[in-house]
């Protein structure tokens, strides 16, 4: 387990950079944290570090949005938000199974605790805690 403290957005960007350079065999980043913790903001920084030019907007309503990338073996940046789900769904029931099975997808999943059957060997958990108006703690495990 690793912990990082960020005092501002520039430091959050550094954490995003750090995380992407030490992914190893992980392809699913599961983000958790309260409303307003900055899950989507963190995903925006991950996209920025990967050179994604498109603006990342919240996928809350449509569940997922996919973008083209070229990073290590990854070809797609798949941003998922399970916020609107009733707790505990199976991947297949929300149309995610194919996205998870395809190894060229890098998945960023907000509110991932609402999914039952994520392949845990591929998952990196990122918990964001609110410390103050601009400071956050990132717990990575």
């Amino acid at each position: 387990m690793q912990e990082f403290i960020s005092h501002n957005l520039a430091e959050t960007e550094n954490i995003a950079q750090e995380l992407l350079s030490s992914l190893a065999d992980k392809s699913i980043l599961a983000l958790s944290g309260n409303l307003g913790a900055g899950k989507t903001t963190f995903v925006k920084f991950l996209a920025k570090v990967l050179g994604l030019e498109e603006n990342i907007t919240s996928p809350t309503f449509v569940l997922l949005k996919a973008y083209d990338i070229d990073f290590a073996d990854f070809k797609k940046f798949v941003h998922v938000d399970c916020y609107r789900l009733d707790a505990k769904e199976d991947l297949a029931d929300i149309g995610l199974q194919d996205y998870v099975a395809d190894t060229s997808n890098l998945l960023l999943i907000e509110w991932a605790d609402k999914i039952n059957n994520l392949p845990l060997d591929k998952v990196l958990h990122i918990k964001i805690e609110i410390l103050g108006e601009t400071s956050r703690k990132f717990i990575i495990s």
């Binding site: 919240s58 809350t60 309503f61 996919a66 009733d86």
Partner: protein, 348 residues
């Protein structure tokens, strides 16, 4: 021309038929089966439940709407191909493809957001009869998934002027409702409580108001609501009402100011409101007032067409077909149609 449209992009299964020629068309059938009551008890949507419900509903709804002789007098089929929930969209698209192929009728995929814009043609006879006088028009498209300012130069001719950089405005309403523990869907509840609140009680930030472009940001506003409430020692019913009113005031103010600024800069001849948030009374009166001041005609959809429905999809398809704007799918090509859950139609 007679067009049958199918819509299943989220939690409503809907069918509609439009008949006519030129400007003389009418909505012949319009049926909506809403699942909101089913999802309400979960406090959100359950994609698998939604998809199953679409599957159960779509054929009986078709029989009920068109009778046993389902497709005999239909000339074209139209279907919402996106954007929306993949699992929900799949049901409508699969049904439309099967019906089109089996009955050998041409099929036209329609964008859900473009459909919302056409809800204005269903609701305003003046616009329907004389739409040439109202182009170019500025459309503010606001819903749970979208916040967009679109310059509509003519049928099917769009230019995106601005969009949200993070959360959609409808999503901000939903999340503020969640923070205040008010239930789902949040928009109508927040607006209702706002009626009894003091809209000047909390001073919330107005993100991007003076950004100089037509983009929006509502994520920070949601977070500001959260922080402001955390400073309160105990959150009374009074505080909840005041917060609903203060939040709604700011959200509406941002939308109205950016809309009228764009309307003036692009010298449009009318302003259109579209999408689920078009049901918001405060937004309608706010836009009406600035449009009146600027002598701009303002159109908005009737309440029954603000939510998801197939009538708006049929209307969008009707104008595309009338104006030969798009190729329909026929024969085996019908099977090439896939679901486009992130389909963007308004391009820069």
């Amino acid at each position: 021309m007679r067009v049958l449209a199918i819509e299943s992009s989220c939690d409503e299964t809907a069918l509609a038929v439009i008949s006519g020629s030129g400007n003389a068309w009418f909505l012949e059938k319009n049926a909506v089966f809403s699942q909101i009551a089913i999802h309400q008890k979960f406090g959100g949507i359950v994609p698998e439940v939604a998809a199953r419900k679409h599957a159960e509903t779509i054929i009986p709804l078709l029989t009920e709407t068109l009778g046993e002789n389902k497709l005999a007098d239909i000339d074209y089929l139209a279907v919402t191909a996106g954007p929306g929930l993949i699992t929900s969209l799949l049901l409508g698209v699969t049904a439309a493809k099967s019906l089109a192929y089996a009955s050998q009728k041409p099929l036209l995929p329609v964008n859900h957001m473009e459909g919302h814009i056409y809800s204005n043609w269903l609701s305003n006879d003046e616009l329907k009869n004389n739409d040439k006088n109202y182009f170019p028009s500025l459309a503010l498209v606001v819903s749970g998934g979208h916040t967009e300012l679109v310059l509509m130069k003519g049928h099917g001719d769009y230019q995106l002027l601005g969009t949200t950089l993070d959360d959609a405005v409808g999503e901000a309403f939903d999340k503020v409702a969640k923070i205040l523990k008010l239930g789902y869907p949040g928009g109508p509840i927040v607006s209702k409580l706002a009626l009894d609140g003091d809209e000047n009680f909390y001073d919330l930030p107005r993100p991007m108001l003076n950004s100089g472009d037509y983009n929006f940001s509502f994520s920070g506003l949601k977070t500001a609501v959260l922080y402001t409430l955390e400073k309160e020692k105990n959150i009374t019913q009074e505080a909840v009402k005041n917060m609903c009113a203060s939040f709604q005031k700011v959200a509406v103010e941002i939308l109205v100011k950016k809309t009228i600024k764009a309307a003036c800069e692009y010298k449009v001849k009318s302003v259109l409101l579209a999408g689920g948030v078009a049901a918001n009374q405060k937004l309608k009166t706010g836009l009406q007032s600035v449009c009146d001041k600027n002598n701009l005609p303002f159109f908005f959809p009737e309440l029954k067409y603000t939510g998801d429905n197939a009538a708006m999809i049929a209307a969008a398809a009707y104008y595309k077909l009338q104006n030969h704007l798009e190729q329909t799918l026929v024969g085996k090509d019908i099977f090439n149609l896939g679901v486009k859950s992130n389909w963007q139609i308004f391009n820069k």
